[in-house]
Structure formats: structure tokens, C-alpha cells
């Protein structure tokens, strides 16, 4: 058995992948950006396929929504301040000219998403991270 890099890694034994997917249930569904004028991600969809998770993003553009496509996502166990286990969801997109890692962690009905974008096209753009906030479609009276 290899030595864990921290004490937190101890005690993660013997729980199947299904448990993580179950923890991610509150994430499932369609989410809309709280800023309707965003120039970035306008909406996202998280779904299950058996024990697998997927995410689909739509970016904002002058010509309407741009479908980023569907990518696999993974639920990671995290422990909230009250000791209750929850999940954080992680996914990545690779468009060649830009790679983007996404971190999502639900917080009291709002879904914050940190996106970490790395540009590979010598366009002069700096790598950048952005935090955006999403609400469940329908929860704000809008679908």
C-alpha cells in the first residue's frame, strides 16, 4: 500500500463509484447563469448515464448560444463545514486552441462554477480563471 499524501486520503476505502454519483444528484438538471448578459457560459446541463456523469455547456455569443458539446464529468466527495458529505463536480474541455477545466460546487441552491482556461493559439490572451454563478432553471421563474 502506497503512503497517502495526506491524512484526508485515509478512510476513502471500499466505496464504489455509485456513491459519488449519488452525492451528485443535487447537481442534475439545467442551470442558467445568474447574469443574463454574460459573455461566457450562459447555461449548463448535468446528467447521469448509469453511474457516469456528463456536462454540457452553452456559451454566449452575438449570434445566440454556442453548444460546447457534452463531456464526461466526475463527482468528488467533499465534507461540508457541518461534517455532511457532499460532492464537487469536475470536468474538462479541450478545443485545441483552448483547454478549460471546470470546478462546480453547489452552495445553498446556487451553483458556482470556476473555469480555468488555457489558451494554446498564440492569440495574446492570457490564461484566465473566471467564477460564474448559476441557478436551477425554473427556480427563478425562467426556463
Amino acid at each position: 500500500m502506497s503512503i497517502n499524501p495526506s491524512r484526508r486520503a485515509d478512510g476513502m476505502f471500499g466505496i464504489a463509484k455509485e456513491a459519488g454519483t449519488l452525492l451528485a444528484e443535487p447537481y442534475l438538471g439545467l442551470w442558467l447563469n445568474t447574469d443574463p448578459a454574460t459573455k461566457r457560459v450562459r447555461k449548463l446541463l448535468i446528467e447521469t448515464h448509469g453511474t457516469d456523469l456528463s456536462i454540457q455547456l452553452w456559451g454566449a455569443s452575438e449570434d445566440g448560444l454556442v453548444d460546447w458539446g457534452i463531456r464526461p464529468a466526475e463527482a468528488y466527495v467533499c465534507t461540508e463545514e457541518n461534517g455532511v458529505e457532499a460532492a464537487s463536480v469536475f470536468a474538462s474541455y479541450d478545443f485545441g486552441f483552448m483547454c478549460c477545466d471546470l470546478q462546480l460546487r453547489l452552495n445553498k441552491g446556487i451553483l458556482p462554477m470556476m473555469s480555468w482556461s488555457r489558451f494554446r493559439d498564440d492569440s495574446g490572451r492570457s490564461n484566465t480563471y473566471v467564477r460564474e454563478f448559476f441557478y436551477r432553471a425554473g427556480a427563478g421563474g425562467t426556463d
Binding site: 459519488g20 454556442v66 492570457s126
Partner: protein, 146 residues
């Protein structure tokens, strides 16, 4: 600069508006990261310390986990990337990297905010043991003499 105005995914439109003028690629400033960052929670079971050193214009990030008998040296982060707060940024404010252990892979991201390094790790076991992947968020502050 039409070479990056379009691509087959159309994704760039969501980002281009932030770059008012085309420019050459810049190396993001690293000075904000320099130093030893200590977890504000001394009892953390996760990431205890992050050392950021700059040499020859390059940033090296060395992390340490909290072990039963002291700190565990994770070594230097691989595939380190520097991020700004916008695509027009000149100063680095975020970093990402990864650590590969014999049985575990850790994706590491951190950003600076108000003198705090907000660091997250996404940890996935690679040994087929079925152990759950886990996430941690930690808050670290610079270790400076009072």
C-alpha cells in the same frame, strides 16, 4: 487578428470581447505568489503548506500534505500553468498543476484573493481500489515575520 475570431466550435466569441486590442503573448508576472503559504487551519488533514519560489523567471510550486507524523513532501507540481483574472491580464493571480503519486492523482488549482491563497485539490485514486475521489478546499496565508 482574424486567425482567432472563429473556429469550428465558435467558443471564442465568448472570450474575445474582453481583449480590446490584439497583443503579443505576455508572460504573466509571478511576484504575487512568492513565499511560503501556510494553511490557516493548523488541523487540516489535507494540504498543509505550499512553497512558491521564483528563479530565472520561472515559478516552482512545492506542496506539503498533513501526515500523521508531520509534513509529507509532494514535490514540485507538474504541468504548472499561470492564470490572470482576465485574458488581458499582465499579472498572474492563479495557478494550476498536478501531482502524480503511485496510487493517486491530484489536480491542484489556487487563486489569490485579499492576501489569501484559495487552493483546491481534486484527488482521484488510480490503483483500481474503488476508493472515492475526493475534493478539498483550503485557505492559506503567507508565512511572514510579524
Amino acid at each position: 487578428m482574424g486567425t482567432y475570431l472563429t473556429n469550428e466550435h465558435g467558443v471564442e466569441a465568448a472570450h474575445l470581447a474582453d481583449l480590446a486590442e490584439p497583443r503579443d503573448q505576455v508572460e504573466l508576472g509571478l511576484s504575487e505568489f512568492a513565499g511560503t503559504w501556510i494553511n490557516a487551519d493548523a488541523a487540516t488533514p489535507g494540504l498543509a503548506k505550499v512553497e512558491c519560489a521564483i528563479a530565472d523567471g520561472r515559478l516552482a510550486v512545492r506542496a506539503f500534505g498533513a501526515g500523521e507524523d508531520g509534513l509529507l513532501d509532494w514535490g514540485e507540481a507538474q504541468d504548472l500553468e499561470i492564470y490572470g483574472t482576465t485574458i488581458a491580464a499582465n499579472e498572474g493571480n492563479g495557478i494550476s498543476g498536478r501531482y502524480v503519486f503511485p496510487h493517486l492523482e491530484t489536480a491542484f488549482q489556487a487563486n489569490l484573493k485579499g492576501g489569501v491563497m484559495v487552493a483546491v485539490t481534486y484527488n482521484r485514486f488510480t490503483d483500481g481500489s474503488g476508493r472515492r475521489p475526493y475534493f478539498m478546499r483550503e485557505f492559506l496565508t503567507l508565512d511572514v515575520a510579524p
